[in-house]
Amino acid sequence: MKELQTLVRHLEAHLQDELAAQERTLGLLEAEEHALRGRDPHLVFERTTALERELATGVGRARRREELLARLGALWRVPPATLTLSSIAERAGVEGERIRRLRGELRERVAKVVKLARRVATLARTHQRFFSDVLQSLFATIGAGDVRQNGSLLDAEA
């Protein structure tokens, strides 16, 4: 019983971390969207790098999450892959009440992140296609081919 309480507390802490991470991701995505609309490639690079760093922190959290799920599965003698936050909260009974609440908050937060990420990704992809099309058009006009493919230097004024 004491082990369950310990594992639930650790899971609660992890969910708190995840909530904070999603909040940061949300902020970074908004900043990225702003940079994309500002058309400043350097700012876009900067924001993308920040987002990349944030995403990298998710690897550690995922490992921690898998470890907690493995220990809970062993405790309840079920495969860890079958566990979800709602089944964990239900199995934990009273101890799982906070997990249930955190799950609701996290679900809402992740949904926001996913929604914003899809929109911003679409925006970035659209911008990228604009530039790509123009570049292709210009290269075709001056007969230089796609420098991105062949890596040759271009003297466009020649």
């Binding site: 990225e32 992140v113 004024e157």
Partner: protein, 779 residues
Amino acid sequence: MSNLGLNIGLQGLLSSQSSLDTIGHNITNANTPGYSRQSLEIGTNTAVQVRNLLMGNGVQATIVRRTVDQLLNARLIGQQSGVSRLDARLSVLGEAEGLLGNTSESGLGKAMQSFFTALSNLSATPEDPVLQSGAVQNASQLASVFNQLATNVNVLKDDTIARMQAHVDAVNELAEQISGLNKQISATEASGVTANDLRDRRENVLRELAKLIDVKGIEDARGAVRVLVGGSMLVSPTTFNQMELATSGDGSLEIRMQGQTDSLGITGGAIGGLLQVYQNSLPTISNELDELAKNWILELNRVHTTGVGGSGPFTSLVAANTFSDVDGDGVVTDELLSNSGLPFDVVDGEVVVNVTDLATGAIDKHVLAIDASRATVSDLVNELNSLGHVTATVDGQGRLHVFSEPGYGFDFSARLDTNPDAVGSFGGGQATITSATDGPYALADGDTLQLTGPAGTFTVTFSASQFAQIGAATADELAAVINADPNMQTNGLVATVVGERLVLQTAGSGASESFSVDAGSALGALGWSAATTVVGHDSAVSVTIGGSYTGSANDQYTFVPNMDGVVGTTAGLKVFVYDQSGQQVAALDVGAGYNPGDELDVLNGVTLKLGFGTLSASDFDVFQVDVTADSDTSDLLPALGLNALFTGDDALSIGVRNDLLATPSLFASSQSGAPGDGSNLLEMLEFDAADVAGLGGSSFGATWADLVSSVGLDIDSSRSAYDAEEFLMQSLDARRDQVSGVNVDEELVNMMTAEQAYNAAAQFIRVSAELGDELMRLL
């Protein structure tokens, strides 16, 4: 809320689209002259209030801005004006150099040399008709080259005017364009946007304008530019003026605004350059060419007019130049010689007119004093008519005609009178006595001269009424008064004049001829002694003058014996020679040891031969010879073009006298008229290298070379200035390109960078979404 999000995304995309459009516009116009790089400025959209929240509203493109440096552009316009001025100047001067620097067969330098070569050839055999014709043809060829050069310069002047007119038309067209662009820019920018491309176009047109004239552009608050030319408004914000090429009061060209009278004083641009060349350089070339031709005509004619052709003295001459009715009273003969419309100045001086008896060769040399500022054309005609055997008239065109009586000829040469003692006052066969000194003589009213001849004694009485001024009676007056006494003829006596001396002699010759000067109050004035008997001689002394006078000034040599004696016999017998000032300049031994008939050098190229006979110092034997360095010190002959080689007075009008072209034997090769005499040719040949006062002490050849090289130097200095100005303009252009030009590489790199950034962003965001999806599965 979802609509707002969509709107934000759309505006973002539109902003990107605008940015791409701007980059594409830049790249497309990378090679468009005068294009200024444009950039899109992005700003945050105004926030939108949704319920109680102030929601961000994305971005929008606020303005497309030209990247320009107005000060740099203004300097470029000014610099363009300077470069174009020098370019236009170089263009015209280059053409001028081309036509002047012609060293081919038809060049002026070559033509001068050919002319002098022809004269040199002719000088060896002056009577050779082929060489005479060659000399005349070369003179004609030279005149044609002068004519062609003058015509070419005039054509170049006309071309320059045509170019200026074309440029003025272009200026007016450009002014209209700027005015139109002003209106378009003002209208466009009134709505709050910047008319970048229109401004670039206007900048280009302004620069085109600066190529033609020096302009100043000032932009007003509404974006319209005022264009000032020489302080006058060419283009205002609402309208424009037109320029015109006009002729000013003094005949010079000027550029002014239509409807105005003041010159704009344009100095820059192609028009400024052309105007400067037209008003300064070309007239200088033209003037120097004319001056060269004028001096050529004058100097060669100075020699030719005083020469004699192979056919000897003239029987008829017509002046090439005409007198004009300067005072406008309908009569030309009342004009003063100094202001009678002749192309060359007539100054105070003398003209020698030799009247030759063609049968005997005897020359009657007359020296006409020319008082140019007092004597009229009529006075000149009268003086010529008074010479005897010569008649002068002025025809209806104002041309002087001179012709001689049959049997006589005339010329204006400096030739010596080879038989200066026609009177026989120097050892002649007649009984002769000459006054001891030159007149005038100080006689008094009632003075007498008592003479005794074969018919008896008689007395000539001198009355004041017979003289202009008896106290200064001239030899001519005295001779006339004495000859008027009938006793003179009765006694076979004649009074005549040698120089300014009175000569009394018998009409007949021989030792039997005699008369005596007995007495009279006039003896003292004449230097005679009372009771002097004069006897003739059976053998008269022949006097022959030869050679050519080489002295530098006109003079008169007086020859007198130092004693009574026989030529070639009497020891110590000499002939003293005095110049006009009375200075003895030679003493010739003609006594014992002198072989009568031998030639004696007198002075300055003049020689003397004396025949056998008796000379008498007691009877004041004397003869005089006029030696002439310049037979026309007044320039009357070249001014009239009488016996001229060249006609005209400038490069365009120079030609060869028509009758010379028809009859080359009229070419005045000689100064004496003697066969083989090419002395006049030699004098003309001196101009091959001689310094000419009218050309500032330079020779014809050197003056021509200077003219050609001065144009070359002008071109060199202009080219140096052009190179410097062009270099500066290129530097300014480079700076403008740095500021306003499009660097296509940079634009493409920017685009590729952006494309990569968006690509990377899209990928990471997609990862972010995938991680979220994975997390959702756990939830």
